[in-house]
């Protein structure tokens, strides 16, 4: 390798600059990033409000809504069933081992069911839907943005927030809770399979213990989380896609950001909701 010439060598900053400029610059950077995040947050909230506003205004595109619900709900059903079953099975196997250490095998059913309905089902369903449908929505809207299809909609006197964003956010709010319930149900069936059918626990024990410890509120809290996650996933995906810029690369970035931001948001909001729902 060639030695760096003198002109390429990094210039030394004066000591005061090193001491003051560095921190100041990183502070400035932090500041501008904070401003960006806050303003994006504001824009997302207003996008949500506009989408909801346009949802209740005519024209009502029923077919559009059904198509989106099918895309989000039916389209994600298979992976939700698959991941739900295995989550329930793995969790049951681990619980059987752990509870077996102190002879509390009877609690495997309620433990798995409570964990599924309150936490695992909404969070994992949210993540699966983000990966499958959220990314697709960000890519679709991003492509429509950079290829001027959103502008074309506007020139045809069609409101793109009403036509594109509203049905996607609504589909998330409606379908993700349903998928969450599906996840819970197949998860419990998976746990039943491992505990009762393969593990030899009495069927009555599993069912009675589960019914004793799990009530409607546990199911409801999972459903509420599912609805909130569903709304957030598609709001973020639509926002990122809608604001994509700069060709194929920009669309790729929008999709990546949508998936990353939505996934992180699910974890953070899950904690907040858990606290609120426990109150």
């Amino acid at each position: 390798m060639a030695k760096p010439s003198a002109s390429e060598a990094p210039k030394r900053e004066p000591l005061a600059g090193v001491l003051l400029g560095g921190p100041r610059r990183s502070l400035e950077k932090l500041g501008s990033q904070t401003i960006r995040v806050v303003s994006e947050l504001g824009e997302m909230v207003s996008l949500l409000l506009f989408a909801m506003l346009w949802l209740v205004r005519p024209p009502y595109r029923l077919r559009n809504h059904l198509a989106m619900m099918e895309f989000v709900g039916v389209g994600s059903l298979f992976i939700v069933v698959l991941t739900g079953t295995f989550t329930g099975m793995v969790f049951a196997a681990q619980s059987m081992y752990a509870f077996g250490l102190f002879g509390a095998d009877a609690l495997v059913g309620p433990t798995v069911t409570l964990a599924l309905t309150r936490e695992l089902a909404p969070v994992l369903t949210g993540l699966m839907v983000t990966g499958r449908a959220g990314s697709a929505v960000a890519t679709e809207l991003g492509t429509m943005r950079v290829s001027e299809q959103i502008d074309a909609l506007k020139t045809m006197a069609v409101n793109p927030v009403q036509y594109l964003v509203a049905p996607r956010v609504l589909a998330g709010i409606v379908m993700v809770p349903i998928l969450t319930v599906v996840f819970t149900v197949v998860g419990v069936l998976g746990a039943y399979l491992v505990t009762v059918v393969w593990g030899g626990q009495a069927s009555g024990t599993f069912i009675e213990q589960t019914r004793y410890y799990v009530d409607a509120y546990d199911i409801l809290s999972g459903v509420i989380k599912g609805a909130v996650f569903g709304m957030l996933i598609f709001l973020i995906a639509c926002y990122k896609g809608y604001n994509a810029a700069g060709g194929a690369k920009g669309v790729g970035q929008a999709t990546t950001q949508a998936v990353v931001v939505a996934s992180i948001t699910i974890f953070v909001v899950d904690y907040l909701l858990t606290i609120m729902l426990l109150l």
Binding site: R36, E43, R145, E148, A152, T155, M156, A157, N243
Partner: protein, 277 residues
């Protein structure tokens, strides 16, 4: 970031009153339907439009000429409210677009059709789906048979019969452009904006498109604004030509006036056609 702002109402108090801008009277007997006044637009420090003034009379066909990158598409997007000016204004039927919010713009756009330079077809829909889209959106009770009839008629004019079920990805560039044309005129709007409708088309299809524009004017008094690089068809369809250069309209007038215009850039631009033959 920031795209969303165009969906929200925005006030521009500094603009002149609607009544205060010159209309109709100073342009002889013809009515002005689109009036562009001192339009300025920059993108990140790069000033693209530096004060554009242009009037479009009802029932006329105005062709805008200019080299690539001179800001023709940007200008056209201001006319339909897709871009907001930094200063200046566009009046459509006397209504100031910069003082109109997104909801109001939606109303204004009902009278418009626009052909995008890039066609901008919905790639999730077939040719039929694309062309019928405005009809479905705005005439919700129109029977399918009538939609089909109207779409077939437009597709036939543009030589696209038999391609109804293809998707944009399966079409050639010129076909896509023609589908975009069909979609823009399917509602039979009173104003049609064409951003390079014939670029990339063969001479025969170009003639068909030119004839379509002229027929719309003669039969239905449609007002057209056309961006074109094709000098021959520009002079054929235009009732008025305007040359955009360095962010301004440097020449404006009847085809003969432009053909003999003294401005050096205009001479250079149209010279290849007139003085070469």
């Amino acid at each position: 970031m920031g795209r969303l702002e165009s969906e929200m109402p925005r006030q521009r108090p500094e603009e002149k009153d609607v009544a205060g801008h010159p209309r109709a009277a100073d342009k002889g007997s013809s009515d002005v339907i689109i009036s562009i006044r001192d339009l300025h637009k920059s993108f990140g420090g790069h000033e693209v439009l530096k004060g554009v003034n242009l009037d479009v009379e009802v029932g006329s066909t105005v062709v805008i000429l200019g080299v690539s990158g001179s800001g023709k598409s940007v200008l056209m997007k201001h006319v339909i409210g897709l871009l907001r000016p930094d200063s200046g204004d566009v009046f459509v039927d006397g209504r100031s677009l910069s003082r109109t919010d997104e909801h109001g713009l939606q109303e204004v756009r009902r009278g418009f059709g626009m052909v995008f330079q890039t066609a901008a077809l919905f790639d999730s829909m077939s040719v039929y789906g694309n062309v019928s889209f405005p009809l479905r959106e705005h005439f919700r009770k129109m029977p399918e048979s009538e939609i089909r009839e109207r779409v077939s008629e437009k597709l036939a004019i543009l030589g696209l019969s038999g391609h109804e079920d293809k998707f944009p990805g399966e079409l050639s560039g010129g076909m896509r452009k023609r589908v975009g044309l069909a979609r823009a005129v399917i509602m039979e709007p009173k104003i049609v904006l064409y951003d390079e409708p014939t670029t990339g088309l063969d001479p025969i299809t170009t003639d068909d498109v030119d004839n379509m524009i002229m027929q719309a004017r003669e039969a239905l008094q449609v007002t057209s604004v056309v961006i074109s690089h094709d000098i021959r068809s520009a002079f054929k369809v235009a009732t008025k030509l305007a040359v955009l250069y360095d962010g301004r309209i440097v020449a404006e007038g009847q085809p003969e006036e432009i053909a003999n215009h003294p401005h050096p850039h205009v001479r250079k631009f149209v010279g290849t056609h007139f003085h070469g033959s």
